[in-house]
Amino acid sequence: MSRADVFVWIDHRGGTADPIAWEALGVGRRLAADLGGRVRAVVIGMDIANLAQQAICRGADDVLAANDPSLKDFRLEPYAALLTRLINGEAPAVFVTGASSAGLELSAYVAARLDLGLAADCTSIRVENGSLIAERPVLIGNLLSTVTFGDTTPRMISLRRRAFPSADEDPARKGEIIPVSVTLSEDDIATKVESFEPSGGGASLTGAKTVVSGGRGVGGPEGFEPIRALADALGAAVGASRAAVDAGWIPYSHQVGQTGKTVQPDLYIACGISGAIQHLAGMKTARVIVAINQNRDAPIFQHARFGIVGNLFEIVPTIEQEVRKRLTP
């Protein structure tokens, strides 16, 4: 058993990988290469044979696959119990997961059970002289913390969504899929999943490549109509500032910022958003930021690559038409 192996947990829903899982696997491959170990995917769920095979195609050397009805939905207790047992048995050097809702709590719970160092929501990770060095944003992105690990293994790492490239796929790759048994029986599990209601319409905000957001400047719930229309034209997710959410114009699940979601899209279009520090916390690492605002002095312009000063109700629909014109073959 190599002490330099890297475990990567594959986050998924119903056997469909969360894209963050392939970002984690990409990092896992790189770290395993640098450390001279194998990258081993951990796939937990029900009917996960396809997903396990995908993990091989994405570069896992092998897969530890736990397949059981009690593992159908992510639940912290059975997943953490199983992972704790696998880590104890296989002694990897590093454990990597995406910092998804499930990845964050799974890595934290296991780290507590095994008294391990945990670096959550990392945006950079590298091996230097055999040691891991990670960077992670703190104080809502206003500071960058560089961390190294003590002696405990495995080093536990979760990765910020869209901060790392996805592992490439090669259907020709081969690797063993090793079945592993469950740890907890259903009676031992306190939590039961009753139902799941997928978000209606529009792209998922946290994983979106493009986000169109509205703020106080949209003026009311109907003010989000042009925002939604532009998002629809771009295949983008709809975001909002806290001001718009607190005013009741759009549900909280759309809030970007300090007490909402953190997004890292390629393109972020901020419409009628002044750019309070709490909002910037959730989006300022977007690759290209476009600000559309009536007030040329709004702080959002200091963070934008492109700005249009003017009335969003005139500008946003015109951009939408322009986009539809270009994207129509």
Partner: protein, 263 residues
Amino acid sequence: MKTVVLVKQVPDTAQLSPTVDGLKLSAPGGLRIVNPWDEHAIEAAIQLKEVHGGSTTALCVGSLEASEALKTALAMGVDEAVRLSDPALDNPDSLTTARILAAAVRKIGAVDLILAGRSSIDANHAATAVQTAALLDLPHVSYIAALNVTPNTRSFTATRLLEQGRETVTCRLPAAISVVKELNEPRYPTFIGIRKAAGAVIPEWSLADLDVDPTSVGDSSTRLIESNLNIPSASKAELEIIEGSPEEAARLLVDRLVDEGVV
């Protein structure tokens, strides 16, 4: 119902400005507030007490200045507040903090539900509440946007706000939960509440009071070491203001976005 709510004191990010950067704000003497997510946990704990009776205790790991965060919780309406502090603790990490919190929950005894915010706006590990549950061998249910506790069946139903949708779960008590903003609107402290809290003497429990071996919490550096804390370098592109009529501006903007490869 006996509940405990975990509270953290954090730098007040509203104070960030061109002249006050993150390092200055985090330094001793910077303005502090209750972690915004935790306010929703405090509100939930108070509502549970109002509906089901019982009591709620706020816990905070921190030095003397953290008493202010606990006074806010008292002013809002929690029954008790205890500050957990010891000279042996120096900037504890999430797992060390969780160990102390878990010991305090054991000392309080017979706690039905532990509530916390989903993460702190400063350290951003989203770990302490989960790890407290792990150390107490309790289930933990996160990202709660709706909560219905039924004390007579010793269980609760919760809606979790996840990336791809909303999940409804049931869980038995005792348990630990972490909550998101959608759960409630935190109340403002009343005038009487503020006066009562201002005069309150907040008890402090040391490691000895908690029966925690200082060697088990004293050295977070065996796990994770912060070697550097910096203001991130701004690799910011220069702003281009796009002028012209809406049609011209839209055409120019989309041209630029196509050039950048983002449309």
